[in-house]
């Protein structure tokens, strides 16, 4: 083996230089905070003061707390619902963009899918409050047309409004990976199925759907993981009647001033997310044909 030439060395240095800001960013704003959180989670509070010792009491307390389990269950249920709803909505959208429109319209639609990300989530959720409120746009329209007599209270500050807000927020996250997967499906594969006498539905079931599976899984993982840790939307639209896990964590930190307790719950949530990611990545790698 000969030593890499100067060109190859330069290219490698360039790649390293290009990646450096990203790595630095990840270190500063992800690894370091998580490290601090992990350390705090094994400390204790004495006289409202963080005390550096080594204890697992925070974890046993968190796992023994019925409220934590209730909110975890609620978080999982919410995330599941949002994932399924987003998947059902995203598939026709992604399929339409990938297979049914011309190049120019496709670009416009993709930009339209991504556009909401350019506006802060808080602003967008505030817009939903204007739409869903008791004197909001939807209620005024329904009352104005005489469809209902009194404004619907259930539209805002309810599990329903949380779900609406979450589905709205995560739909693009599902559409994009699905679009990428469906776009990669060759027309000739679908043609081959039809040529072998599979009708349109059968061809979809046998070829298009299985080949969109990677996109379906990636989108589901995105939605579920983000949904599991979601804080802003339920806080602003849910009205605080139901506490999701993220709100319990916030409660521990702020109201109870129990940083180690909050950190322990946060670490549990993160372990779940990491486990989920690991499993789905392994599945994806196998599905895309890589040998283990």
């Amino acid at each position: 083996m000969s030593a890499p030439g100067p060109a190859a060395r330069r290219a490698r240095r360039l790649a390293a230089a290009g990646l450096a800001p990203l790595l630095l960013w990840q270190c500063l704003f992800f690894l370091v905070p998580v490290g601090i959180l992990a350390v705090i989670s094994v400390w204790s509070m004495e006289n409202y003061r963080l005390t550096p010792d080594l204890t697992l009491a925070n974890y046993t307390a968190a796992l023994g707390n019925a409220a934590v389990w209730r909110s975890l269950l609620l978080s999982v249920r919410t995330a599941l619902f949002v994932t399924v709803a987003c998947g059902l909505l995203a598939y026709p959208i992604a399929y339409f963009i990938a297979r049914k429109v011309g190049r120019r319209l496709r670009l416009v639609l993709l930009v339209a899918v991504v556009a909401p990300f350019w506006i802060s989530i808080v602003m967008r959720i505030a817009a939903w409050r204007i739409l869903l409120g008791e004197h909001g746009v939807i209620n005024q329209f329904l009352v104005g047309t005489g469809l209902i007599e009194a404004p619907l209270g259930i539209l805002l500050y309810s599990p329903l409004s949380t779900m609406i807000g979450l589905v709205y927020a995560y739909l693009p996250l599902y559409v994009l990976p699905l679009y990428a997967a469906i776009d990669r499906i060759e027309q000739s594969w679908i043609d081959a199925a039809k040529d072998l006498n599979a009708g349109p539905l059968r061809a979809f079931w046998e070829v298009t759907l299985p080949l969109s599976l990677p996109g379906l899984v990636v989108g589901a993982v995105f939605c579920f993981i983000f949904g599991l840790g979601e804080f802003v939307t339920p806080a602003l639209l849910g009205g605080g009647k139901q506490l999701l896990l993220s709100q319990i964590i916030q409660d521990q930190f702020q109201r109870r001033q129990d940083w180690p307790g909050g950190a322990a719950i946060a670490m549990v949530l993160m372990a779940m997310v990491m486990g989920l990611l690991a499993v789905s990545m392994r599945w994806l790698r196998r599905a895309s044909g890589e040998r283990p």
């Binding site: 081959a192 040529d195 061809a203």
Partner: protein, 357 residues
């Protein structure tokens, strides 16, 4: 297999946004025959194949398979099976599952499917590869799987779109022999599309030479090669010397006044009334070159422009005073003429034929 059917095309026209892709094609494909649609890219041959398979509908005209019109039927209601140019193997399925696909769609029971698939793997020399993913087999093997996936359903007509186009030369020769064997053993009607004249000559019972949306000639490989009907066919299938000529009562007069007997037969001979302008065609391998003084047969005088020696043969290219290019291809034994010298290019009249000017 008695399920095989003939295919009839009657006045088939396909228009795409004002562009005439197929400009009126009528063709009779006998049942059990191997027919090739041969032509340059854009001649309409692939469009024709897509119309037979149902992926495109003719603008007008009729397509019949086994006597019944299939116009308006979607691909999944036609008893045709296609070998796609890029094979189009299902990437998420194994070799075996690809082969079984059409049989599963046809609701054959599982043991029967297993038996048919195993027999097809055996027939294609793919035994032992059934469990592989299609990304794990070679190009030649993928080609066989594509062929097997279409053959295993025993279609009334097998359609092949540039079936050997993606293979390297050696593999292509091998697969030509294989295709021919499969056609013989299965007795199915094959319709193939290719731009490779050698492939067409090797494989086919009949060749339809296409140009600009029309069939220029339809005949056996021997007919198409030995007696091309038009300038296009003469040029596209093999090589031809094309010499402008005028028909006279007692023979032909070439551009420089040389008189030759009128060759018998040939597609242009029928209409060749005296005074008509025609083209005399002759293959390079029938043309001999002699130094100008020693010529014994009447021929055309031409200045030798190039002498190319390729071992088995010697190619001599000349140009007449009127500018007609002449090529001779002869086993390279005799002493070649000098480049730049004047030579006589001659041929036996029976080796030439007349086509429309």
């Amino acid at each position: 297999m008695s399920r095989s059917e003939g295919v009839t095309l009657a006045g088939v026209v396909k228009r795409y946004e004002g562009h005439l892709a197929v400009a009126g094609v009528s063709l009779e494909v006998p049942r059990g025959a191997f027919v090739t649609l041969l032509g340059p890219s854009g001649c309409g041959k692939s469009t024709l194949l897509r119309m037979i398979s149902g992926f495109a509908e003719p603008t007008s005209g009729d397509i019949r398979i086994g006597g019944a019109s299939v116009v308006g039927l979607p691909p999944y209601r036609r008893d045709t099976a296609m070998v796609f140019q890029d094979y189009a193997l299902f990437p998420h399925r194994t070799v075996e599952e690809n082969l079984a696909f059409g049989l599963r769609i046809r609701r054959m029971d599982k043991p029967a499917i297993r038996a048919r698939v195993a027999a097809m793997l055996e027939m294609l020399g793919l035994a032992g590869l059934g469990g592989r993913r299609v990304s794990e087999i070679s190009g030649g093997q993928a080609q066989r799987v594509a062929l097997g996936r279409a053959l295993v359903v025993e279609p009334a007509v097998l359609l092949l779109d540039e079936p050997l186009g993606a293979l390297d030369l050696k593999l292509r020769k091998q697969m030509q022999a294989e295709l021919k064997r499969l056609h013989r053993e299965l007795g199915l009607t094959f319709i193939a599309v290719t731009h490779d004249q050698e492939e067409a000559l090797n494989l086919s019972d009949f060749i339809a030479v296409m140009n600009a949306g029309r069939i220029e000639q339809y005949g056996t490989p021997e007919e198409v090669y030995a007696r091309p009907a038009t300038r296009f066919v003469a040029d596209f299938v093999g090589e031809a010397n094309l010499v402008p000529a005028t028909v006279e009562p007692d023979g032909l007069r070439l551009e420089d006044g040389t008189r030759l007997p009128l060759p018998e037969g040939g597609p242009g001979a029928v209409r060749a009334a005296a005074g008509a302008a025609v083209t005399l065609a002759v293959r390079p391998e029938a043309v001999e070159v002699h130094a100008a003084a020693t010529g014994t047969r009447p021929g055309l005088a031409a200045r030798v422009e190039e002498v190319l020696y390729s071992g088995a043969a010697r190619r001599v290219i000349g140009r007449t005073a009127a500018g007609t290019r002449l090529t001779s291809l002869q086993p390279g034994a005799a002493a070649p003429p000098e480049r730049g010298s004047l030579a006589t290019f001659s041929w036996a009249p029976a080796a030439s034929w007349i086509i429309p000017a």
